[in-house]
């Protein structure tokens, strides 16, 4: 039977993949998707620990994380749209107007 350690390792691998996406990709939308991947990896940890401890709090916190992820996606995509209108690009290297 799959134990807690299996889920934690899977969650760590997923989180690292999401982190890799944020670092490697030069596309703002894909970077936001990678952030969603990282949030989901954390969700998996919460659920696994909630199951391990026999507590419902893990599932409750996952609902809050999903809500925060929805808010983050809405605001993040609005920023992406505003940036795209301004610079006609999705590459974060193009957003260097604040650079001295």
């Amino acid at each position: 039977m799959a134990g807690l350690i299996h889920y934690l390792v899977l969650s760590g691998v997923l989180f690292a993949i999401g982190m890799m996406g944020v670092f490697l990709r030069r596309n703002v939308i894909t970077m936001l998707l990678s952030i969603e991947v990282m949030l989901n990896a954390v969700n998996l940890t919460f659920i696994a620990f909630g199951r391990f401890l026999g507590s419902p709090d893990g599932q409750i916190i996952v609902f809050f994380v999903i809500t925060v992820a929805a808010a983050e996606a809405a605001v993040g995509l609005a920023i992406v749209i505003a940036l795209f209108r301004h610079t006609e690009s999705l590459n974060p290297d193009a957003f260097r107007e604040l650079k001295g």
Binding site: H6, R26, L44, F63, L90, A94
Partner: protein, 208 residues
């Protein structure tokens, strides 16, 4: 419970492979669709963890709503044609930062797996808590509106602020300032079809 382990590895493999492909895809539309597959696999893992309501919420809210929002933006911005610009626009400093980021992410993955392997005192098996039954939606709702009532209300304010922020950031008024408009804005309500006397210019040729 060998089927449990098989299902875990199946869902876990789908999640990891789909997420890796999300990172590797150059077309954002395929990335979004692959991420939906990854979220479905995670929902299956939640079912294995006796959290069916979270699994359904994951599919409805994440795969259904948030990913559709992403798809909507990807198609709105016509993003796939940005790929050539993305490939050519990376500078040397960006390449160095990416290499460093890749090394850091790999180091973190290895470190996490190594640390988790050292903490085998957590045990392998889940306890048979609550007699093998999962928490029902009624129980979860009672806890959500009882112990977590304040956090729940704070979440509603968060959603409201996110809504206002999204409208403010992506609103039309941002572009109207940038495009110079030679004609003055019509402020007074006027009929779409002007009346004949208003259409006659004040200095018409036959008046001169």
């Amino acid at each position: 419970m060998a089927s449990d382990l098989i299902l875990f590895y199946a869902f876990g493999a789908i999640a990891v492979v789909a997420t890796l492909l999300v990172i590797a895809q150059s077309n954002p539309i395929y990335s979004v669709l692959l991420l939906i597959a990854s979220f479905m696999a995670l929902a299956g893992l939640y079912v294995l963890l006796d959290a069916p309501f979270v699994a359904v919420t994951q599919i409805i809210v994440y795969a259904g709503a948030i990913m559709v929002l992403f798809l909507f933006v990807v198609m709105l911005l016509n993003a796939p044609r940005e790929d050539a610009l993305e490939a050519s626009g990376s500078t040397e400093e960006s390449t160095g930062a990416r290499a460093l980021g890749l090394v850091l992410a790999m180091a973190m993955a290895i470190e996490l797996v190594w640390a988790l392997n050292r903490t085998r005192i957590l045990g392998f098996a889940f306890p048979e808590g609550r007699g093998g039954t999962s928490w029902s939606v009624a129980e979860l709702g009672r806890i959500l509106f009882g112990n977590y009532a304040f956090a729940f209300e704070a979440t509603s304010i968060l959603i409201l602020i996110a809504m206002v922020g999204a409208i403010t950031l992506a609103g039309r008024h941002l572009t109207e300032k940038r495009i110079p408009n030679p004609e003055p804005r019509i402020t007074s309500p006027e009929p779409l079809i002007p009346s004949p006397e208003s259409r006659i210019p004040s200095r018409s040729p036959w008046q001169a």
